[in-house]
């Protein structure tokens, strides 16, 4: 336990200190991140609403118990990991496959098609539209390099998977859940 407060900027994060990766959301305020595009994956999810719990559940493909339920649509998502500059952690964004005007995916595709290392800033402008801006990173800027490297290594080693950010609950497991996790709910 610390007994004195250290004034000054926080020390740079070491790979060992990287917090667990989790969901990240775009809101009405700017969210800036450094994308880890080669670890992005296409996955499928179901929105499940049960008494006391609602949220997204990962579709496990063959044998998925939600796929055959009437009215239960399987939705496609692109899961894009990024280093969140504000929170100094890795977060996974779940991006719908919508391509309507103002949708996120086409705008991200446009900025992610180059290999230049950029910082992306996204702001949600309405329930269905987003504004995407990019900015080049200057030398010395926090680009989350260490955290990104650690994330990449773990992914390559198979220790973590971008898609597992969405839980693969079963009906029985959902029945045992009582509180809707804020980040899983719409």
């Amino acid at each position: 336990m610390k007994d004195s407060y250290e004034w000054g900027p926080p020390p740079p994060q070491k790979p060992d200190n990287i917090p667990e990766f989790g969901f990240a959301k775009f809101t009405e305020t700017d969210q800036s991140f450094v994308p880890i595009k080669e670890q992005s994956r296409v996955g499928y999810i179901h929105y499940v609403k049960r008494p006391g719990w609602e949220g997204y559940v990962r579709c496990i493909g063959e044998g998925c118990e939600f796929c055959n339920q009437p009215g239960q649509k399987r939705e496609e998502r692109v899961f894009l990991p990024g280093y969140l500059l504000e929170e100094a952690r890795i977060g996974i964004f779940s991006v719908t496959d919508l391509r309507r005007p103002g949708s996120l995916l086409p705008q991200l595709e446009r900025v992610l098609c180059s290999d230049e290392k950029v910082m992306i800033t996204v702001r949600r402008t309405s329930m269905t539209t987003f504004k995407v801006r990019t900015q080049s990173l200057n030398p010395g800027d926090d680009d989350g390099e260490a955290a990104i490297e650690q994330f990449r290594k773990k992914c390559d080693a198979g220790e973590i998977n971008t898609l597992t950010v969405t839980p693969a609950y079963t009906e029985a497991e959902i029945a045992g859940l009582s509180v809707t996790p804020a980040l899983c709910a719409r």
Partner: protein, 602 residues
């Protein structure tokens, strides 16, 4: 794998192979599919056999079959032993004096009130199907429900409604042609309608818990801005029939003819896409209702684009026959890729265009061919008059007929039918040999944008433009105006929307003579590709005139002068005498004294 069916035997094999069970086996793999067989391949027959097989095989307990018009329904054969309900429009002729009052109520969505109050007064009430047509007791247990596309336009959740009333578990939906998916999905509830409805519901003196819930919802909808409307959490309760009737009755009592109930649309509001919802500056509520296609679903259409159908309905339609092409080896398809066929330019160029067609019609009639003429509706009276005059001048004993055409009129070889491009599902012209489009069929940006973006609110919509190539043959296309917007699907699908609105309509109309399965000569006047290709394209009318060996109008008129002059000459008259007898000037007589007829052929 690409397959071309271009022989009688090949077509017969194809039809035999794709019988009812085979089509249903295909459907079981995909759930939703579009059968893109060309017009004339046998879609109507296939619909009949698929319906029969669906019930016989026991896979389905209800088949809902929807068609573009009631005339098409009349051509469908349904199994004798099945319980069939054919949904029909109100029998207006039987409504007699009540019809006008009924029509007013229909427009205002007050059908329940009409059934309750007007039908009771009618002398046909006890034997009329209409009042109870949609009642559960009429529909329960039905195996086949047949109707027109209009059912889906009025109620996008029609399939769900019918399924519940029938009590069916496994439903197959068959829709002939894709018109149901290409109409507007947009709904508008005006601020006045919301206000009137609130006043009416608040004033109801009923002990119904839903009244409070509806007053609350209406107050929220009235006060909501666009952002609030786009929340996921809206919940609007369904209204019982009894309460609905009370609202309609009270509304008419309070507001008379001004009352219009948007209740059905409001009950469906929660199912509208979030991005379609909007509160306009004057307080109107705008949103879109997309037909629901959650069950096993087959669309039969030879002119639809599966990708575009997906876009419109938000569902994945497989197109197992997209690589199968149908063509008759003797069919010749020509296209005049000239702007002179456009509405804007046709009036100034109609003289030359109609001269050309009059000459070609004369040739084909002399060969014993039957001809169908197509035109934009607005030009039909003009074309009839002008063509008739030209054909009369050539001494051709034919009549251009238009309007309501029946088999008697069409079967008379002296009649040349002229119909508009909107013709669909009519089988009167199957034996015809030629289709000539007297002008082109084109649409404007507003229509293209509407089809592409009627599920998007105005703040999300992007501007769309129609472009035309500078190189020959001219081709029209559509795209987003701003280059930054070209990353969106609206831009990607804009050319398909344009094709759907222009060329698909022309293909449907031309298809009346069955050019894919029987020999036909077609001349279109479009600035678009033909999916099956053109035999030859002409950049100008002049090129077409030369190809077909048709004399120009000027040449035709000159020929008639030459004929008169030559006749005078052969009678042994001198030039001066010929001038006196024919009324032509001496110089005209002298000019044509030694000339032969101009045939227009090279």
């Amino acid at each position: 794998m690409r397959q071309i069916i271009n022989s009688v035997a090949g077509l017969a094999d194809f039809r035999q192979r794709w019988n009812g069970p085979a089509v249903l086996a295909l459907l079981s793999q995909f759930g939703r599919m579009v059968i893109t067989w060309a017009i004339g391949v046998g879609k109507s027959f296939n619909v009949s056999v698929v319906i029969a097989a669906a019930l016989k095989g026991g896979d389905y307990d209800l088949v809902v079959a929807l068609f573009p018009t009631k005339n098409v329904i009349a051509e469908i054969t349904l199994p004798d032993d099945a319980c069939v309900v054919k949904l029909k429009g109100r029998p207006r002729n039987k409504c007699g004096a009540l019809d006008s009052r009924w029509s007013k109520l229909e427009v205002k969505n007050l059908g329940l009130l009409g059934r309750s109050e007007l039908c009771q007064l009618c002398s046909h009430f006890h034997e009329c199907f209409w009042p109870e047509q949609f009642d559960k007791k009429n529909l329960f247990g039905a195996q086949i429900v047949v109707g027109t596309h209009a059912q889906l336009s009025v109620n996008p959740y029609f399939i769900d409604t019918i399924t519940k009333k029938v009590g069916a578990q496994k439903v197959l939906v068959i829709v002939d042609e894709d018109g149901f998916a290409m109409g507007s999905f947009r709904r508008r509830v005006s601020s006045q309608e919301l206000e009137m409805l609130t006043t009416v519901i608040e004033s109801l003196d009923l002990n119904d818990g839903l009244i409070g819930a509806w007053v609350h919802c209406l107050s929220l909808l009235t006060g909501a801005d666009t952002e609030f409307l786009r929340c996921y959490d809206w919940s609007i309760p369904a209204m019982s029939g009894k309460l609905l009737l009370s609202v309609q009755r009270q509304g008419v009592e309070q507001f008379g003819d001004d009352f219009c109930t948007p209740i059905y649309s409001l009950m469906a509001f929660t199912r509208s896409p979030l991005e379609s919802r909007e509160k306009t500056e004057n307080g109107d509520l705008v949103f879109s209702l997309v037909p629901e296609v959650d069950t096993d679903f087959i669309v039969y259409s030879g002119t639809t684009n599966p990708e575009f159908l997906d876009y419109r309905l938000g569902n994945c339609f497989k197109a197992p026959f997209k690589d199968t092409r149908f063509e008759h080896p003797e069919t010749r398809w020509y296209n005049i890729a000239s702007k002179t066929g456009m509405k804007k330019y046709f009036p100034n160029n109609s003289k030359q265009i109609l001269d050309f067609y009059a000459g070609l019609i004369a040739k084909r009639v002399s060969e014993g061919k039957r001809i169908l003429l197509l035109s934009k509706k607005v030009f039909i009276p003009f074309c009839v008059e002008e063509l008739q005059a030209r054909l009369a001048m050539q001494g051709l004993p034919v009549k251009i007929v238009t309007g309501t055409l029946d088999e008697g009129v069409v079967s008379d070889p002296k009649n040349i039918p002229l119909v508009n491009f909107g013709i669909i599902g009519v089988n009167l012209f199957q034996e015809f040999d030629c289709v000539f489009c007297l002008n082109g069929y084109f649409v404007n940006e507003k229509l293209v944008s509407g089809l592409l973006q009627d599920t998007l609110a105005s703040d999300i919509e992007i501007p769309v433009e129609i472009t035309c190539t500078n190189t020959r043959p001219y081709r029209r296309s559509a795209r987003a105006v701003n280059t930054n917007d070209r990353i969106y699907d609206v831009n990607t699908l804009a050319p398909q929307a344009l094709f759907q609105l222009e060329m698909s309509v022309v293909l449907q109309a031309v298809g009346r003579v069955r050019p894919y399965t029987s020999p036909a000569e077609i001349i279109t006047f479009q600035l678009s590709e033909n999916p099956t290709g053109y035999t030859q394209e002409f950049n100008t009318l002049e090129e077409a005139r030369q190809f077909f060996g048709v004399a120009s109008g000027r040449e035709v008129r000159m020929n008639s002068v030459i004929e008169v002059v030559q006749a005078a000459k052969s009678k042994g008259l001198k030039q001066r005498q010929a001038a006196e007898e024919t009324g032509y000037s001496l110089s005209t007589i002298q000019r044509h004294w030694h000339r032969g007829l101009n045939t227009g052929e090279e």
